[in-house]
């Protein structure tokens, strides 16, 4: 079946569709090389340049990796990671529930778009952290305030991308819907939503990045778990190599989250 199925597609086209293994490998190698370079720079900055006995030596990659080993084998780190991830996911869920419908509405109505665009652009440019005192007043210290701040930060990219997706919808698809006498619901569910899915996923990917960045400072605020909390905790215990290990963990998880979001996007686009 499969080779029959591919009869009409030339080998050149096929390559354009799915890059061969050899070609996909090269960027990965180059990327790994870049990461290695980063590691070397870190080593130079903490181990080579500072004089012996310097305070900065305590941030060395070797000490960090040793601490990381301790952290990972202890049960604490996993708890903190789980708490942080849960916060991001809850914030993201709120942002999707708010951002997608609003984006659909804004994208399909010109007047609504014109009316809300300046307001959204203004709100979007305010760092979510600025709302922290207000969030704390409203929701008290703890998860409530963090959920609020993360949802707030993550809603904009999802909303704006969804709206852009609706505006970029192929008019021929809508015409097809009309020629098939599609109802409003059918148009929404069968054409508009799948049609904007790529844009929504882009929005979600950006939202994940923003959430992960906003999360750490949010968690420095009166909570007793999470990676942001762990940063402050290690600092207070003067455990600097452990602090660096947490920083590293934050980076790696963020990298993985973005990779996952990209993969999701790629699967959708095929």
């Amino acid at each position: 079946m499969t080779d029959l199925a591919q009869r009409d597609v030339s080998p050149a086209d096929r390559d354009l569709i799915r890059p061969s293994r050899g070609r996909a490998l090269k960027p990965i190698l180059l990327g790994a090389l870049g990461l290695l370079g980063l590691l070397v720079l870190w080593f130079i900055g903490t181990d080579l340049l500072p004089g012996p006995g310097s305070f900065i030596r305590r941030f060395s990659p070797f000490l960090t990796v040793a601490s990381l080993g301790d952290l990972v084998t202890g049960s604490d780190l996993l708890t903190h990671v789980a708490v942080s991830l849960k916060r991001v996911l809850v914030g993201l869920a709120f942002a999707v529930v708010i951002g997608v419908p609003l984006g659909l509405a804004v994208g399909s109505s010109r007047p609504l778009d014109t009316a809300t665009s300046p307001a959204f652009q203004l709100l979007r440019m305010i760092s979510p952290l600025s709302w922290m005192p207000i969030a704390v007043m409203l929701f008290g210290l703890g998860d409530g305030a963090i959920y609020f701040l993360l949802s707030f930060a993550a809603t904009w990219p999802i909303l704006l991308n969804t709206a852009a997706g609706v505006r970029a919808l192929d008019q021929r698809w809508l015409l097809l819907g009309r020629s098939l006498a599609a109802t409003r619901t059918e148009t929404l569910l069968r054409i508009v939503i799948p049609g904007v899915m790529g844009h929504v996923l882009t929005g979600i990917r950006l939202a994940i990045g923003i959430s992960w960045i906003v999360l750490v400072p949010c968690e420095m605020l009166g909570v007793s778990a999470g990676l942001g909390y762990l940063i402050l905790d290690t600092r207070d215990r003067l455990a600097y190599s452990e602090l660096m290990a947490v920083v590293l963990v934050i980076g790696v998880i963020g990298f993985a989250l973005d990779g996952a979001a990209r993969a999701l996007h790629a699967i959708w686009r095929r």
Partner: protein, 258 residues
Amino acid sequence: MTKTAIAALEATGITLRYPGAAMPVLEDFDLAVAPGEIVAVLGPSGVGKSSLLRVLAGLQQPSRGAVRVGDQLLSSVHPRVALAFQDPGLLPWLTLEKNVAFGLDFKRQPRLSREVRAARVDAAIDEVGLAHARKLFPSELSGGMAQRAALARCLARKPEVLLLDEPFGALDEVTRAAMQTLLLQVTADFGAATILITHDIDEALLVADRVVLLGGTPAREIGQWRIDLPKPREDDLVELGRLRTDILFKLRATLRRI
């Protein structure tokens, strides 16, 4: 014309004026197409061919005049009227097979059982020779395959009227010739009244039973030719030559008048 009595599609006195436009696009246009008949509509760019097709499809209400499908007056889109454009317009998130089936289960379409829908999709895909590609996504199809898929999507609805707006305009010569042959086969098999809008006089001469030439502003019919040669007509090109010159001459004349 005797065929008018059993027309699958009949348009009378179609006048279309877009809101805000100084002049109508179309004025007093009449056309009747019999089941199984292929009518090619030729005309210079921007004359209003696509506008006409949208009116015939029920997508655009004419300012005056009426369109009848069988004995029904058309007031909006009709389930037995299918439409295809220059661009296949497949939905990229659906496989070819799902694209062909798209819309068959919509609420305002005739109720069909799941089995009947599946059978129609199978028949349509077989008809255009894409059975081997049914699980592929549009991004994996060549231009000709995509256009055949778009045709299959029309056929799955068992149309009484098939409206095609420059469906082969974006294809290369060879693929285009294959598509023209396919169109002849499809009209013979499905018996749909077909209106084919095209820029290509040769295409019109090869596939059409009648050629209608649109021209002027507002656009009217400025010529009509019946071609009674049997198909395929690849060998009759010499005979068609005189007709070709005639159409080209009229077409040039309309252009000069603008």
